[in-house]
């Protein structure tokens, strides 16, 4: 079988869920829905052949390879072609609503940074030439590179080696301008440290942001990135993590507010024993475009990744996008990965694009799989709750909460979980009124 055939077949396999799910009658009910996707054991497909899969891309000039393995990177915005919707990476994004983040001089004021908690953590503002900048990743797209070219000072959050930070560090980014701005943040987790960092984005902003997570050997870092912008805000955030030996990284993305929010979290491993869990929760309201594109690059042996993203969508022109690229390179033997995306469409009007991409270049893996489902609330669930007297709107809220709260539970800090539940209640109340 040629690679082209395989691509076509793979595309077909998940065509029900990917590439723009209609909001018509034939959607699957969820949760408890039928589930598309595949689980590959030992890198064998059902025919017993090694799975080799290459993702289909648009023709990007200057990019040597169409698979994620060859994704072009550069610090220089001029190295990237101008954005068009034919680019694979941008095909779902309403480019007109980027408000110039790809092209304009990003000279607006960056959101103000304020910090609470996080005993023993050092937070400093550093110039562009600080050695820690660039430690975790090179821009992978034009908007990210534009911010890299433009930011003046970076915020560096430094967790000393062996530090056991008990209290979560809350970093609040407060936007007060709609002029395009750039921002750079580095979180440097020292060897064998343990910490939880919350990046909370509030206010109004038109922002391209690069966030780097450098997770050293044996360190355990949890990051919660919370997007609670005003409805007119635009936010592109490239969040790149680099994991050392036996490092553990948990990334929880919560996107609730903003006109256009596009977060691209990626994880790279530099040594064996790395463990990443990436969770996501988005609540897409009327008119919002909330996009999450993640990448896990298994380039070394015996690392583990788990991805679980969920979204709820409600209202006219609510558009959610989830793209999950997981690449298992030839040298990454013993990789164990699974990615899951589940989306709940609450009424007629939203559109969800969900694209899992699993590329496997070695047969010697511990496990690999993906699944993606998009559906409506299950009528039988609503019926059961309503048959006990619970009014329909409340029944819907109970089920939606249950669906989304699973992700909030991943945060692991009760006070913060409570805040997130409250934020979600606001969303639910808002979309119902």
């Amino acid at each position: 079988m040629s690679t082209t055939d395989q691509t076509a077949r793979d595309t077909q396999d998940t065509s029900e869920e990917v590439g723009g799910v209609p909001t018509g009658e034939d959607r699957v009910a969820i949760p408890g829905m039928s589930q598309e996707g595949e689980t590959l054991q030992e890198g064998r497909n059902q025919a017993g052949e090694p799975e080799i899969r290459h993702t289909q891309h648009g023709d990007i000039s200057g990019v040597p390879d169409s698979s994620r393995a060859g994704r072009f990177t550069s610090y220089d915005v001029a190295d990237f072609p101008p954005l068009t919707s034919t680019l694979e990476d941008w095909r779902f994004t309403p480019l007109k609503r980027l408000r110039g983040l790809d092209d304009a001089a990003l000279d607006g004021p960056a959101p103000a940074v304020s910090v609470t908690g996080g005993d023993a953590v050092e937070v400093t503002s550093v110039p562009r030439d600080d050695a820690r900048i660039g430690s975790a990743g090179i821009p992978e797209d034009r908007v990210s590179a534009n911010a890299w070219s433009s930011f003046r000072e970076a915020t560096v959050i430094s967790i000393p080696r062996d530090a056991e930070v008990q209290e979560p560090l809350i970093v609040t980014f407060t936007g007060e301008s709609d002029r395009p701005a750039a921002q750079h943040v580095v979180i440097d987790a020292g060897e064998n440290s343990r910490a939880l960092v919350v990046l909370r984005h509030v206010g109004t902003a038109v922002l391209s942001q690069n966030v780097e997570f450098s997770v050293s050997d044996g360190a355990s870092l949890t990051v919660v990135s919370l997007q609670e912008w005003t409805d007119d805000s635009v936010h592109a955030s490239s969040q790149q993590a680099r994991l050392g030996k036996d490092a553990t990284f948990k990334h929880v993305l919560v996107s609730l507010g903003g006109d256009l929010v596009r977060v691209t979290p990626s994880t790279r491993f530099t040594a064996t024993g790395g463990d990443v869990a990436m969770y996501g929760l988005t609540f897409v309201d009327e008119g919002q475009h909330l996009e999450s594109r993640l990448f896990v690059d298994h380039s070394v042996p015996r690392c583990k990744s788990r991805v679980n993203y969920k979204s709820a969508l409600q209202g006219e022109n609510a558009h959610g996008v989830w793209v999950g690229d997981v690449l298992i390179r030839a040298e990454a033997e013993g990789t164990d990965t699974y990615e899951l995306n589940r989306n709940l469409i609450l009424n007629d009007g939203p559109r969800m694009d969900s694209v899992p991409n699993l590329e496997i270049e070695t047969g010697l893996i511990a496990g690999a799989g993906h699944a993606s489902t998009t559906g409506q609330l299950d009528d039988e669930h609503l019926y059961y709750l309503m048959s006990r007297g619970i009014p329909e709107d409340q029944a819907r809220r109970l089920v939606v909460r249950g669906f989304l709260f699973e992700i909030i539970q991943q945060v692991g800090v009760e006070a913060l979980e409570e805040q997130l539940r409250a934020s979600l209640e606001d969303e639910l109340a808002r979309t119902e009124s």
């Binding site: 408890g32 309503m386 006990r388 007297g389 329909e392 109970l398």
Partner: protein, 254 residues
């Protein structure tokens, strides 16, 4: 004193292709508070359809006839309104609801049915006491509704709701099926408590006479091909036990 009155009810199931198939063909039945009416009939005769139609399941459509509770038009009410009016259906196949804990569910249901939140002081104690009587492990409160429950646990959970929500009229759809003798006794005791303490009127749908050893019906109705084809007292159940439904099925086929 409450009365559920079903008059000449005709109803159809709405199939997946949106076409309909008539199932109920003129059901007449009146149930008062404190009465137990056994509805007995072969599989496929429409017993669950009757219960689901009264409860308002969206898959069933009423073609004609009426259902009233104390004179109020049940068929004009939404599913949740019917429950708040005092109807309860213990389902034959309760669904699993991911992400909603039993504890949260029970409290939400009680609040909805009573129109006010239950007393903080006594609620937890009352629920636990009710669970204990039904020999349900209180761990269930932390589990999601029906998720991973065994068949027996699901049925006990239905009866737990019956005891907590205290409806005027309860429809029990094959609550006995899949239960061993011990579980059947426990569940029956729950139903009998609802009868004695809350004076609930009971429609007891069953295929077998076994449960009637523990819950004593005053009225037995034989259901076949979408209607009541015979009725009588408890002696009719004994007769069915000995003779089966053959007589009625053959009559319906003619």
């Amino acid at each position: 004193m409450s009365t559920l009155e079903i008059k000449d009810l005709h109803a159809s199931v709405i199939l997946d292709d949106e076409t309909t198939k008539p199932i109920l063909k003129g059901v007449n039945l009146t149930i008062n508070s404190g009465e137990v009416h056994a509805i007995m009939g072969p599989n496929g005769s429409g017993k669950s359809t009757l219960a689901s139609t009264i409860a308002g399941h969206p898959k069933y459509q009423v073609d004609s006839g009426s259902v009233t509770l104390d004179g109020q038009d049940v068929l004009a009410m939404s599913v949740d309104e019917r429950a708040r009016a005092g109807l309860f259906l213990a389902m034959q196949y309760p669904v699993e609801i991911p992400g909603v804990t039993t504890s949260n569910f029970l409290r939400s249901a009680k609040t909805a049915v009573d129109g006010e939140a239950p007393s903080l002081r006594t609620w937890t104690k009352d629920v636990r006491a009710a669970m204990e009587k039904l020999k349900i492990d209180t761990d269930m409160l932390l589990r999601n509704v029906n998720e991973g429950f065994s068949g027996g646990e699901k049925k006990r959970h239905e009866i737990l709701q019956l005891e907590i929500l205290k409806p005027k009229i309860a429809l029990l759809d094959e609550t006995d099926s899949g239960l061993d003798v011990d579980a059947l006794k426990i569940v029956s005791e729950g139903v009998n408590r609802a009868l004695e303490q809350d004076n609930t009127g009971i429609m007891l749908i069953t295929h077998y006479t076994r449960i009637l050893r523990y819950i004593k019906p005053q009225f037995v109705h034989v259901f076949s091909d979408g209607r009541v084809v015979d009725q009588g007292g408890p002696e009719l159940a004994e007769q069915l036990e000995n003779e089966g439904y053959d007589r009625y099925v053959q009559a319906a086929a003619k």
